[in-house]
Symmetry: C2
Subunit: 131 residues, 2 copies
DNA sequence: TTTAAATTTGTAATTATTACATTTTTATTA
DNA sequence: TAATAAAAATGTAATAATTACAAATTTAAA
């Protein structure tokens, strides 16, 4: 694994899960799914691994208003949209460089997050169908 | 109180606290400070009241990557900057209308949040002073 | 003043996360 | 290969945030 992290089996599987299922899962989701494959997996290992991947900048936490920590293996700049109906989190391309503010001119900005809430296309369609 | 919420004493005090101290406090901060004035105050009331104010759109939660829910009585559009050193959250003016993305063209966007992380001016000054 | 409704309170339950000691695995070296 | 040391994973317990809910209190209405 990159960034000097030893590629143990659980670590590979956890990162793999994040990369393939791009659903911004919670610890619970990751654990519940992987424990089928790795019966000895413990939730603490999932926490440890995610925190390790975060400090290595391979994974980041999705900023939100909820008390659910969700993880994302895509650390390139993009926005997150959370659907209020189905709870899904969508990625979207956004140019955070276009965001300008004079208020922070003497601040050191390390990270810019953009987070939207609303109703996704699919749920809008479902609502319409039911009326 | 506006929005059809009955202005009880705890409710007024909680909203007043949020409006005057614009520090985006946690429930704990609000409770700890107000209990001095209102000795019978319970933390459940703080939670209840904040959730009530949120559903009335008088208060909003600050989106972040941390597991700390912080509240803001300013519901007009602005960004939040969190300092990694001192933990303070700063408001800043930002034109979220300038954010455009084609990826969400069939989505209903209800709320746009902008959240930055980094080091604030004050902490940058302190670091420089110590070197 | 009585009654009903709304609000607040306190305790218990739930959930997410971290702390930490123990066990297991992996890598190293004799 | 066996012994040893280091790293990683595990499981349990502790902590903290939040919600559920029933009881008590306050407020408003009749």
């Amino acid at each position: 694994m990159e960034h000097g992290i030893k590629p143990s089996y659980p670590r590979i599987k956890i990162l793999e899960y994040l990369i393939t299922k791009r659903s911004h899962p919670t610890v619970d989701e990751i654990y519940s799914n992987l424990v089928k494959e790795i019966p000895t997996l413990s939730k603490t290992t999932v926490y440890n691994t995610l925190n390790l991947l975060i400090s290595a900048n391979i994974v980041r936490v999705v900023a939100s208003e909820e008390n659910e920590t969700r993880y994302d293996a895509d650390v390139t700049s993009h926005g997150h949209f959370k659907c209020e109906k189905c709870g899904a989190i969508y990625d979207f391309r956004i140019d955070v460089g276009a965001l300008k503010t004079d208020d922070l001119k003497n601040f050191k900005i390390k990270e810019k997050n953009v987070y939207y809430r609303g109703i996704c296309e699919e749920c809008l369609d479902n609502i319409e169908n039911k009326i």
